[in-house]
């Protein structure tokens, strides 16, 4: 039960983050180039994602559970560590924070510089391509997380439901406000998702490799708490280095 709840929360948070990023790109395309090609690009992206789920979903669930946990847990761990590494570097100031408003302005400016041209049934080909790529690339991460979490937990419907709620929530708010959702605490969510992906990845990979966690399922919350504590300690450590370097840079700049 705890595992199911944590899994649904992890999928929901990850899907909110990816949906916010896809929404920014779709809005930039639609507001600048018109909605005809944009909607077609969104639809084409969604259909492609559905095909990927239909092909890889059954293939994943057909694997023996230990093999699935070792392979998928390992890949999820590598993927999650990438998220966590980037989130720690952002939180400590070494890498700029993700800013949806700035990305929206940049995409709008780029879309406005391209001449409109007829693209047949695609509508405006630039709007189609931009929204298709945005939905497909951000959606792939959603699909990856839904399939890996759902297959390992043997509950793809719950993972898919958590993802669907997140996507509908973000899309509904996006349609209502028609601006990028810059107020969503995206960097904090990414940090939390990085912690969850890394913890679940470790948990499943160790089980798949033949190890036994002390306390069985009870080890998962402890693992998440330990990963969070380690990540926060890393942020504090890097912030100290960053502040020290900023002071050194500022004092060097003051020299004649």
């Amino acid at each position: 039960m705890t595992r199911d709840l944590l899994m649904a929360l992890a999928v929901f948070a990850a899907c909110v983050v990816e949906s916010v990023e896809a929404l920014t790109i779709v809005l930039a395309a639609g507001m600048t180039r018109g909605w005809s090609g944009t909607w077609r690009g969104v639809a084409a992206g969604m259909v492609t994602l559905l095909v990927i789920v239909a092909v890889f979903g059954p293939a994943l669930t057909a694997l023996p559970i230990d093999v699935l946990r070792l392979l998928v847990g390992g890949v999820l761990l590598i993927f999650g560590l990438g998220w966590l590494r980037k989130a720690i570097l952002r939180a400590s100031g070494f890498v700029g924070l993700h800013d949806e408003a700035a990305i929206y302005d940049r995409e709008r400016a780029a879309a406005g510089r391209v001449d409109a041209s007829a693209g047949g049934w695609l509508g405006d080909p630039y709007a189609f391509t931009l929204s298709f790529k945005g939905v497909l690339l951000e959606g792939l991460e959603v699909v990856f997380i839904v399939l890996t979490f759902g297959a390992n937990q043997d509950d793809i419907p719950l993972a898919a439901l958590a993802a669907l709620v997140a996507v509908l929530l973000v899309a509904g708010i996006g349609v209502a406000v028609r601006t990028p959702l810059a107020r969503v605490p995206e960097n904090t969510l990414k940090f939390a998702v990085g912690v969850l992906l890394t913890s679940f990845g470790m948990f499943w990979a160790v089980e798949g490799a033949g190890g036994d966690w002390p306390g069985s399922d009870g080890a998962l919350p402890a693992l998440i708490a330990a990963t969070l504590a380690g990540a926060l300690a890393a942020v504090a450590w890097l912030r100290r280095i960053c502040n020290h370097e900023v002071k050194a840079y500022a004092s060097a700049a003051e020299l004649p």
């Binding site: 990438g82 590494r85 070494f94 036994d212 693992l223 890393a234 370097e245």
Partner: protein, 81 residues
């Protein structure tokens, strides 16, 4: 033929970037740690502790490399300076 090769290279590069990300050493370290965990699991010794310890060390080393190797890009990420 070269167009096919370029498409395959692009496809591979996309998936490499998608899963492995910015630091391939981190990914390689995880694979080695998983192999060691599987080997330890075949003995009578407990093996669950190995992967968390390895992940902590690998992530720390990866972060250290990220902040040490590219000082220009690092300062460029702080436009408020």
């Amino acid at each position: 033929m070269s167009r096919v090769a370029a498409a395959l290279r692009g496809f591979g590069a996309f998936w490499w970037d998608f899963v492995v990300g910015d630091d391939w050493l981190l990914a390689a370290g995880v694979v080695l740690a998983l192999a060691a965990t599987a080997a330890l699991s075949r003995t009578d010794l407990p093996s669950w502790w190995l992967l968390p310890v390895a992940v902590a060390g690998l992530l720390g080393a990866s972060l250290w490399r990220a902040v040490r190797l590219d000082p220009d890009r690092r300062l460029g990420a702080r436009p408020d300076l």
